[in-house]
Amino acid sequence: MFKKRIAILVACFVVLATVLAGCGSGSKSGASSTAGTSFKAGMVTDTGGVDDKSFNQSSWEGLKNFGKDNNLKVGTGVKYLQSTQASDYSPNLNQLIHQNFNVVFGIGFLMQNDVQKVAEQNPKAHLGIIDAVAVDKNNKPLKNVASLTFKEQQGSFLVGVVAGLTTKTNKVGFIGGINSALIKKFENGFKAGVKTVNPKAQVYVQYAGAFNAPDKGQSIASTMYTKGADIIYASAGDTGNGVFTEAKNRKKNGKKVWVIGVDKDQYAQGLPQNVTLTSMVKRVDKAIYDVTSKTKQGKFPGGQVLAYGLKENGVGLAPTTKNVSKKVLDSANQYKQKIIDGSIVVPTTDKEYAAYAAKLK
């Protein structure tokens, strides 16, 4: 009896296996064998996934563009692996390295530890990390990792200029996600920009303490708007979405308030009430493209800390400029030139900002 059942099961399995074999082959065969010699670039997303509408997505766009320009196929020449949990980072990085990818990017500072470990275990592999500096145990830069960072303070300075010149109440706000060195760069750059063009303006600063708390973002925004601020710069990830909600509610009731977006052009997010004044965009895609093409030319910037600023078009004002007046835009462009030629050095830390503000007076 029992044998009979087993026999049926085995038979089912064999039949199925042949059927599946017939169906599946052909479409993807040879994909892995031909790619051995040509250039391959890959990236590992963090748990946000590749369609997070933020830096994971932007990174992948960068790689895709590189693939298009160099005739590399998506899936073999350029490729991404998604992580569903933090423990996936290491295996995913290793997957790409074991498949001899010429350069592998870890997206986001959350992956710093894993990138460092994998880089030490595979000294011949070329890795890249976004928003963090990869170091070895002695705090020295790892020779086979390129660290891609951004001068967020410069872009934030420009949106600060826009805010300082656009505000009618002379009060603007800044909402940060978590109080950290990274977000401080946004805050101090923004404050410096506002104060440079509008010394009378007051800047409210508050941190939500989380990147994923839109409700907190909304309540902080509500407080700031009530206090009289008419523009808020939100550098807080998902928390910033709450700022948009609050601004839209107020605009529906006839108040004139604005939000300044972050990381990418958030014009669409401000619709239909049209509350996005401008956005501070961070071109992760350009940075990835840049490092990948350098690697292809045999000039992998290992051990270097690359800082993408206004000069490299790594940060800047959003391409959508419908809500910013021509005069303000021209002025922002002048400041952009001044930052690029070095006559203005934008502060990043509280200490640098204090020194900068003292000079303004």
Binding site: L20, G24, S25, S27, T84, A86, S87, N113
Partner: protein, 355 residues
Amino acid sequence: MSTWFRKINWLTLLIPVISVFLGLLCGAVIMLAGGYNPLLAYGSIIQSIFLQPYYGGETIRAMIPLVLSGLAVAFAFRTGLFNIGVEGQLMAGWLASVACAIELDGLPKVILLPLSIIVGGLVGGLWSFLPGLLKARFKVHEVISTIMMNYIALYSTAYIIKNFLYTEGERTPTIPSSASLASNFLATITQGSRLHWGFIVAIIAVVVMWFLLWRTTMGFELRSVGFSPDASRYAGMNVSRNIILSMTISGVFAGLAGAMEGLGTYQYMSIMSSFSGIGFNGIAVALLGMNTPIGVVLSGALFAGLQTGGLTMQSVAGVPTDLIQVVIALIIFFVGSSYAIKWIWLRMSRKGRKS
């Protein structure tokens, strides 16, 4: 041998196997529909796990917390309790073990490492002691209270890390090597995977669970309460005490799972914005393993294999990792519908007898 062989209830053993098979089968059909090659995908899982030491090591590494959290769920289940709070107990244990290791840095390894593991287990136990107490004293349903305890754990661990143990990168500092379960030896033989000594802890836990439940009076009482609380009370057992005890031991297993993650895999704890999912997978592991220690080990191996293999599937066959989650969900679905499978199987075999 043959009598022992006949003693095993083949039907109960077959159902999980059929469920897994059906789950994988449906997964294959979905892959075909999506234009992926299921043979290449499943082949890549088997090939990577069994032939490449790195993925083999990673699979065993992923097994450790899954088996422990599976044991936690199974243990409570044996007493008729549904511990959904494994996730929270795991986080509490994780943070406790990491905090202990960091704060008591300087102690020799023979003391610090076991101490950190024990602290992790105890705090996990404490986290489930509360729902156990509420259930025994005030009849608060453990499903509700453990779910709520999950959220308390999620946000209070984040708060504690932010305010007391914070370092750059949204996490705690790395634990000292004297509290680490990681081993260079294990890493080298598995081509640099994160396999750590925690698997010994998991094996001990499996034996302990079996011994406690099936070889002690306490275990007999616990299981008896699970079968029928009223009958147990009539027989003179203290049902309330057993409920609290069962929940607490269950929580200890969960806390140990957290300690394994903290002292082994990660060597730190990061501020989590959402649940790790290990605790919830533990429910599935226990269910598929029919709440037996050996069953939990086997289903833990399967889930860990699917998890690690899912990453290989993604990179070799291009199958999205979301699909592997679908396959896991399908397996759980078929385990859940075991009654239907049993019914169909019996009908089939009856027909066979007639002919």
